[in-house]
């Protein structure tokens, strides 16, 4: 009963969260956006007290149900573990207390110190978001493009093709390594990650110890067959002593289903549970650290073949735009400031998934690693869009109306004379002026004393909102003649 309920709930919640990242339309994001917002760490960062208190109460009543049902990374590990078809794959082991409390300690320090990249590396929902966005989403996009070409042949507009591109190599590698490490851990030992590394798991375990409902072994009924322990993915059932480590139990209910003597093990209110003996902590298991080490190493090296553009001979070749190196990175409208972003972002990539204009991508900067940053080679922050602000669960990008967005300055355009087409090619241009949504660009004579001198853009920095229309549509390639410098703190113009 417990197990079946848990599985059904887990599937429903997992599908909802996953769709947030994989749905190529914005339908599900509007329907299930709240699923991201009830994730523990995003809620904490968004100071969403209601959710945080709610989740703690949930844990105090049911134990770590959160880890089995709400956390998509937890559910994903359960799915991974199913690939191991061995019958008795688990056995009891003692809690790795030193490791998990040390990780939690550093995690809290990082959180307080605003070390977003370390926070993002450890946070479970963020890891899942990255995996979904970097590994699963391209597959969905591939399928979409196949459908799009099929639709095109049939003259249907039901599907439209999308660009599949690597937004950030470090983030991709971290996602891939996380995925592989998690798979190995889950395949071999079930919820190892959740009970040693995961800071949310460790934090919830502090409350789960005192949960009202808990798994209990009836010493009188138990025949010590050990089936419960061998089915326990949290390795928390010490059947020989009739004890369960509630700090690690994720209330999956597998043990209850496996028990031959149906009444020997049950999920029941605390007063019926015999006092469990506390087990002492054991030395740190070096092998379990592989996850962290591997992730850290992952940021280096590896090259991906550059996408080659197929060009029709009757058409001029178009060079790819070089990515501008900005002295201040641009953060999306609604993020208020770079520091607000750094403090709240869990790097879950939901905004990156949601961005329909190929603007957002994970940062490669070490301090803000994997947090969203903007660049305009593929598109610009279009005036009719505020998708990222509507999906962010962590308060890193606050909801922003289109009207406010259109007057929020996130950066300002900078003109680069040596690349400007009228100066270089001697032809008329003005494409930046034509497309500036706020009219911040005026075309002026390069030399005010020479009427024949080319017309070049003059940026009114006080009106510019930094949307990047000018940069994206600037014909100078690969080096743009106008680009946006980010602002540390956004302001209204």
């Amino acid at each position: 009963m417990l197990r079946k309920t848990r599985i059904i709930l887990a599937i429903v919640s997992f599908v909802m969260v996953t769709l947030l990242f994989l749905d190529l339309t914005d339908t599900t994001r509007h329907l299930f956006g709240w699923m991201a917002k009830i994730q523990f760490l995003p809620a904490l960062l968004a100071m969403n007290l209601l959710v945080v208190v709610g989740l703690l109460l949930l844990t105090l009543v049911f134990g770590r149900m959160y880890c089995s049902v709400i956390c998509p990374l937890g559910v994903m590990q359960d799915v991974m573990a199913r690939f191991n078809f061995k019958k008795n794959k688990y056995s009891y082991s003692k809690a790795k207390n030193v490791l998990r409390y040390v990780v939690l300690f550093f995690f809290i320090i990082a959180l307080l110190a605003g070390l977003g990249s370390l926070v993002a590396l450890l946070a479970p929902y963020s890891s899942f978001g990255r995996i979904a966005n970097n590994l699963f989403r391209p597959l969905v996009e591939l399928a979409n493009n196949a459908l799009a070409s099929w639709a095109e042949q049939r003259g249907s507009y039901a599907f439209s093709s999308i660009d599949i591109w690597l937004r950030s190599l470090p983030t991709f590698i971290i996602s891939a390594v996380t995925f592989v490490v998690l798979f190995v851990l889950a395949y071999r030992n079930g919820r190892t990650y959740c009970n040693t590394i995961c800071p949310v798991g460790t934090f919830l375990s502090l409350f789960a110890r005192f949960s009202w409902l808990r798994i209990k072994i009836d010493e009188n009924e138990c025949i010590k067959c050990g089936k419960c322990a061998r089915s326990c993915k949290a390795a928390c059932i010490d059947f020989k002593n009739y004890t369960v480590d509630y700090s690690r139990c994720v209330v999956c209910g597998n043990c209850i289903d496996k028990c031959d003597k149906k009444h020997a093990i049950s999920y029941a209110p605390v007063r019926l549970v015999a006092k469990a003996k506390k087990t002492a902590s054991e030395p740190v298991d070096q092998g379990r650290r592989s996850f962290l080490v591997a992730s850290a190493l992952a940021t280096t090296a590896a090259v991906l073949a550059q996408e080659k553009k197929k060009v029709d001979g009757g058409l001029a070749k178009i060079e790819d735009k070089a990515i501008v190196e900005r002295s201040t990175p641009i953060t999306p409208p609604g993020s208020i400031s770079a520091s607000n972003m750094a403090k709240h972002c869990t790097a879950c990539q939901l905004c990156v998934s949601a961005c329909p204009n190929d603007v957002l991508r994970p940062s490669a900067n070490l301090l803000t690693l994997m947090q969203p940053t903007m660049s305009y080679e593929r598109g610009y922050c279009r005036p009719e869009c505020n998708e990222c602000s509507s999906v962010c669960p962590a308060g890193a990008i606050r909801p922003i109306s289109l009207a406010v967005k259109s007057s929020t300055q996130i950066g300002h355009a900078v003109w680069v004379k040596k690349n400007c087409i009228p100066v270089v090619d001697g032809v008329e241009c003005g494409n930046c002026e034509r497309h500036c949504p706020v009219g911040a660009i005026t075309m002026v004579q390069l030399d005010e004393n020479d009427e024949l001198s080319p017309m070049v853009p003059a940026v009114n920095e006080s009106r510019c909102i930094g949307c990047g229309a000018c940069e994206n549509l600037c014909p100078a390639r690969p080096f743009t003649a106008i680009y946006v410098e980010g602002h540390e703190v956004h302001k209204e113009v």
Binding site: Y157, S161, G314, L315, A316, E384, E428, C429
Partner: protein, 471 residues
């Protein structure tokens, strides 16, 4: 300049033709149960011919434009610029054309990325020299070919590639453009026109003429020289179709109505060679209500047949050029002219009404000739215009935000736009440098039209949000 309908448009034309043909089939099989191959194919020996007053040439009313030759793997070089010309197919089609009376073949050193003359030569060389007339041009696409030496070389190369000792019809290519200055630089200052006249005296050119687009002052000036006896034009190639007959100037003030151009030539007894009978296929691909009107009149004729009949009806028209990429094009056109059923005065009035209908569509008058390409900044100009026009013609323009169809049409327009034109080649990337405009035989202000499309698309993108909220 020989303007020939292109492949894509011919597909559309073909579509119309097939519909017409199969409509005929169904009708007939109901009546007598016979197959109607003869109805689909023009009968041999029935082709309408016109006689040139200068040389007495008996020219078929259908002329073969060699601008959009098929390439290996299907399509034309425009779609597959690196593919080789499908010589076997060219030979087959030229054979079929000659077999059915077609004897005028129009090429140019510029066509098919410079490969048309050679392919034409190979195909024609397999036939007796007195079975065909070949027309080629003194082209002016690249200023590098303008000096005297290079121009003479161009003519000698034409003879070499076409494998002939003389050219039947030689044209000064696409005169008009931006006025007399350019004409003088290209043909007068280097003495190349006089040299061509010499070649004609030597018998290496049998008929000397010009093809005309753009500034009417150049057309008038050249005819004045003809009147003064300074130069004699054996023929002139003009754009003529039922839309341009009275409306060319109204569509674009720098263009001239065909009724004037043809009238001036007829007055002087100069035979006209007709290009753009279909306006790059635009007259074969019209909105359904117009198709219905045309079909109601002559249910068994294709939409394109009306345009060909119109272009072939004036008596002083020597031949009507059509770029025929596929055998089906040939078959259909030969049928229309075997023999020609001239347009009656009443039908003429009817077509003038149709022209008014088409004019009122406000499509961009682009015939997708690709002369503007390649845009140095990578814009796919004809593809953008084609998509825009297509949505107008299909009556699928998302123009009314309150209409129930708006969201559907909007999606169709935007998704279709991305499919037809890669994002980086779309109108928002047009910088307005204007290097394309002088090349446009239709004198379209290309940057202005591109910016118009851009604004339309931009509004469409922005309105989506509002429309979604309202819906």
């Amino acid at each position: 300049m020989s303007k020939i309908i292109n492949r894509r448009d011919f597909f559309k034309l073909l579509g119309g033709g097939v519909v017409a043909a199969s409509a005929g089939l169904v009708a007939c099989s109901g009546k007598d149960g016979q197959t109607t191959a003869s109805q689909q194919e023009g009968e041999k020996g029935k082709m309408t011919f016109r006689t040139s007053p200068n040389t007495g040439d008996r020219v078929s009313l259908l002329g073969y434009g060699m601008m959009r030759l098929p390439v290996v793997g299907g399509g034309t070089e425009r779609d597959h610029p690196d593919a080789a010309i499908d010589q076997e197919m060219v030979n087959k089609q030229v054979d079929y054309a000659i077999e059915h009376g077609v004897n005028y073949f129009d090429t140019s050193p510029a066509y098919c990325q410079g490969r048309s003359e050679e392919a034409t030569g190979i195909a024609l060389h397999r036939h007796p020299r007195d079975k065909y007339f070949v027309a080629t041009k003194m082209s002016n696409f690249s200023p590098a070919t303008w000096p005297r030496k290079e121009s003479m070389e161009m003519f000698e190369n034409s003879l070499k590639y076409l494998q002939v000792d003389y050219i039947d019809y030689l044209l000064l290519h696409a005169i008009g453009g931006s006025g007399m200055d350019e004409f003088n630089t290209r043909f007068m200052d280097n003495g190349i026109l006089d040299w061509l006249v010499e070649q004609k005296e030597k018998g290496r050119i049998r008929n000397l003429g010009f093809s005309y687009h753009g500034a009417v002052s150049v057309f008038d000036q050249l005819l004045q020289w003809h009147d003064e006896g300074r130069y004699h034009w054996d023929f002139v190639q003009i754009e003529l179709n039922y839309l341009d007959w009275n409306l060319a100037n109204e569509i674009n003030s720098s263009n001239t109505d065909a009724v004037y151009l043809y009238g001036e030539l007829e007055k002087r007894g100069i035979p006209s060679v007709i290009m753009e009978p279909l306006l790059g296929g635009r007259l074969a691909n019209v909105p359904d209500p117009i198709v219905a009107k045309l079909k109601a009149r002559r249910p068994e004729d294709s939409v394109a047949a009306w345009a060909f009949r119109f272009a072939g009806t004036p008596e002083k028209v020597l031949t009507v050029l059509s770029g025929m990429t596929y055998m089906e094009h040939l078959v259909e056109n030969i049928r229309t002219y075997s023999p020609l059923t001239p347009i009656t005065p009443e039908e003429h009035e009817f077509l003038m009404d149709i022209a008014e209908d088409i004019f009122n569509l406000k499509t961009i008058p682009c015939n997708e000739c690709n002369y503007c390409m390649p845009c140095p900044y990578g814009i796919n100009i004809p593809a953008i215009f084609s998509h825009y026009n297509k949505c107008i013609k299909e009556d699928n323009m998302p123009t009314h935000r309150r209409s129930a169809e708006y969201n559907k049409q909007r999606r169709a327009f935007l998704v279709g736009y991305d499919r037809s034109v890669p994002r980086l080649r779309q109108a928002d990337h047009c910088i307005g440098c204007g290097q394309c405009s002088p090349h446009c035989p239709q004198s379209i202000d290309i940057p202005q039209e591109l910016h118009k499309v851009d604004v339309f698309v931009e509004n469409l993108k922005r309105n989506g949000k509002i429309a979604d909220v309202e819906a």
